[in-house]
Symmetry: C5
Subunit: 231 residues, 5 copies
């Protein structure tokens, strides 16, 4: 790994997060995928795998780690195994500017989440941005106004504590949308109820723009591949 | 089905609904498609099949059931048979928040519809969302205003009772649009008349955004495959 | 054709219209295309064929008939012959709600047009919808206002009588746009002059949204295939 | 060419213009492309060829002539040679309604331009339309207001006389945008300076909507093919 | 290179810049890519290579030079080697109209940047334009207002001096967006912090429209190919 070290650009604070959504377009070499997963974990990444419903993707990987070169290697390997990466998201964990009041433990949990949460196996991912339109311009609001809208949003989300784990990662400058939202829930109904409820929050109602939604079920890589590729 | 049980995330209330739109891009193994359909039904899903007109898809499947893993297996199998899934929709049946006055039987029919309705063989599906623009923001309306607009919408739809069966499923947090609308009618003209009429409802006129429309004819899988793939 | 009869959903009033735009992507079996055309006509459809200019399609078919299963069979056959259907439009002939004053003969001509008009061989097709924006909302206008705008539009179009035949078909609920417009003209210049002129009609200026335009030349299927596939 | 004559729809005034942008996706039979070019010219078309920079296309052809069937044949031939037409534009030369004061010679030059201009080898093409939004609606302006905005636009363009040749062709009713703009310049910097300067014209600032830009270098077909396909 | 000379259109001031984003879709002939890179540099181009994260591309090249034909040859060669160019950007270096106060050395550095900056290996590219909407119309502002907004923007950017090198190149008339922004940073977190911070600048908040973001890591071509294609 000498070259990677030489060329390395490790993430100094928090984790770099790479979501990869892939399709099974032809024969897939399972053993290469499995080996790629092992090496990604050995190189310090957390790896979540999920089966995805519908035409946008057959499966999803969420990689969290310090070294983007290691994440790029994982991508090259699964492509080499025959998976076609059809969608992706590049982001980073962060403690948001509105989270001033968080305890040190909570800040640490935002920067270094431990995934997947064992009992919450329903999965969805969507990217979002804040609007900058004439009458709905998030970036023209004062910090105080934004902070208050975010606090209301957080309160609305807390009603789903225990049922939903929400992981928001930041992507301004890194991907087409400003944030990525990864939800883990008990079942698909909880995901739906949570996002529907929060759509009435004043911040979402006026300022949120949502990208495509990817929905599925978290499982061991072995189980995901069994269902999609055959054993 | 042991693994599915272990990893399972069954839908506790109502049904998970997976619409799959597929193209015949090359040779299709009919027997695998037929076997997949049998297994999906055996695993507790209702399955509607339809031929679709035009370039977006050659055929459609609508799966309703409790187990998303079972629906994902159906998708994997038809892909494996050579069908290319070109579009899809992930949603759930629901009793909407505006349906407070419904009888228990009607609520049950919304959560557990019985499909396809034998005599209504014209088919269309389209997704929709409510607008959140400065002057047309559904989510900024009071519950009373929304409830009244939905009641007017329902009345307008009831003029088509007997000619059209409308199945609205919820997808906020699950797919790119907030609802999926599946219509079953006597003929294509009824579908057109119904949607055209409802476009003048105040709720649709100001607040509805519509996605792509998929139009075709419901038939037994056997008949659909005869017409599309040859026997 | 027994099965189609059993599963049939014939159009009770007017005609179902299927526009198919196709590309020659590889070897095409001419005889299958020719056979499909013969059968479609034998099953009661009118069939217009045209060569299309540019990347969107190489050729177009416009099918008008009573039986959507018959139109779907035509599509399956030309796909099977090697044509790739790249775009399409599903619609129906209609007597619009603003055509109250039409004579019975004119109403009949709208429901049952006879195509193609022999001498008008320049062809274009485009879909359109009426806007539902805050300040440009067609569906929020009164019937009287809409009727007046349509009358002005009709008058502006009548200046092209004899040079242009306009066939407007309805697709609300059937396809992504609300109407399809098929124009037949003496040459491409007449098509351009007609559409450009009508863009200044108040109804078009404020309320019309246009989709992609497909432009070409109507000819016998034999001639079209000679030019595109070789004899 | 008897059949084309029979089915012909020659352009009575001005020229029909077909822009074809193509990719080299696999082996290309140079001799078929060269033969197609010779026949197109022999059938009375002017033909401009250019290499294009970037992913949208590898090369461009601009055909101007009287007979759209002849242009369609050229397209069929280069497709048959292995070029994949990835983008296109169908339009016509015209004397615009704002050009009343032009001399007969200048009107003739608009209807029958002679291309390519030998010394101006930098090339770009882009389509454009005029807006029809509530506060920026070109088609709701009076003729006098439009004429004045166009005159200002023309004056701003004349600052580039000798450095830039601008060919504007009309496509309302023929293609997705209302006009196509083909620029020929001394170098890419002149193209950039010209379009950037004109973006501050009041007409462009408020009413113009621009489509994709295709940029490259005009050269003999032989030179273009040498650079792209090899000799 | 005689033909290129004959047909040449060298850039008289500053450099022409070609960004190419490419996918590894099948077997890639490394030696052709390496040879193409050597010849591009021998012909006077600077060449930056980077691995890209996610589905949009596997790797990126940024070419800066005087001769667009030489850049086109590089593109043809890497395509010939098996790389599929999936996205691109055509632009030029410039001294912007708001940079009147710059020293001669700084103006020279804008026209002739030296890339890549050795120590800044995190990479992102995105295109952008200024809005021309009714209430957010950059081109309807006075020069003084634009100059002031750009000065504020510059100040906000200077907070990242040493951490981020920003290269803005101009593309009005050359590509779909008006400017391309290439950022080089110490790590992905610096890129994110810089772009997020600048989004609150008044000019960005009201007038900027952003295209897709491409994010990755700069490295020697050899290292990039090792990670993506294998050695």
């Amino acid at each position: 790994m000498e070259q990677a070290g030489e060329q390395g650009i490790l993430t100094p604070k928090g984790l770099t997060v790479l979501h990869l959504f892939a399709k099974v377009d032809g024969p897939v070499d399972r053993s290469i995928v499995e080996q790629a997963a092992k090496e990604a974990v050995a190189e310090g990444n957390q790896l979540v795998s999920a089966a995805i419903l519908g035409h946008k993707a057959d499966l999803a990987f969420m990689l969290l780690g310090k070294d983007p070169w290691s994440q790029r290697r994982f991508q090259s390997r699964i492509q080499c195994a025959g998976l076609a990466v059809s969608e992706s998201f590049v982001s980073m964990t962060e403690v948001s500017e509105y989270a001033g009041g968080l305890s040190k433990a909570m800040r640490q949990a935002r920067l270094y989440p431990e995934l997947p949460p064992g009992e919450l196996r329903a999965f969805c991912f969507y990217p979002m941005s804040k609007r900058r339109n004439p009458e709905q311009n998030w970036y023209a609001l004062s910090y105080e106004d934004r902070e208050q809208l975010m606090r209301q949003h957080g309160k609305s989300g807390r009603a789903f504590a225990g049922k939903i784990l929400q992981v928001v990662t930041a992507s301004t400058g890194l991907d087409d949308w400003e944030w990525g939202v990864t939800l883990f829930g008990r079942d698909l109904g909880d995901l739906k109820d949570c996002v529907y409820t929060m759509r009435f929050d004043e911040g979402s109602t006026h300022y949120a723009e949502f990208g495509p939604f990817y929905t599925g079920m978290v499982a061991d890589l072995d189980h995901v591949l069994n269902e999609l590729v055959g054993s």
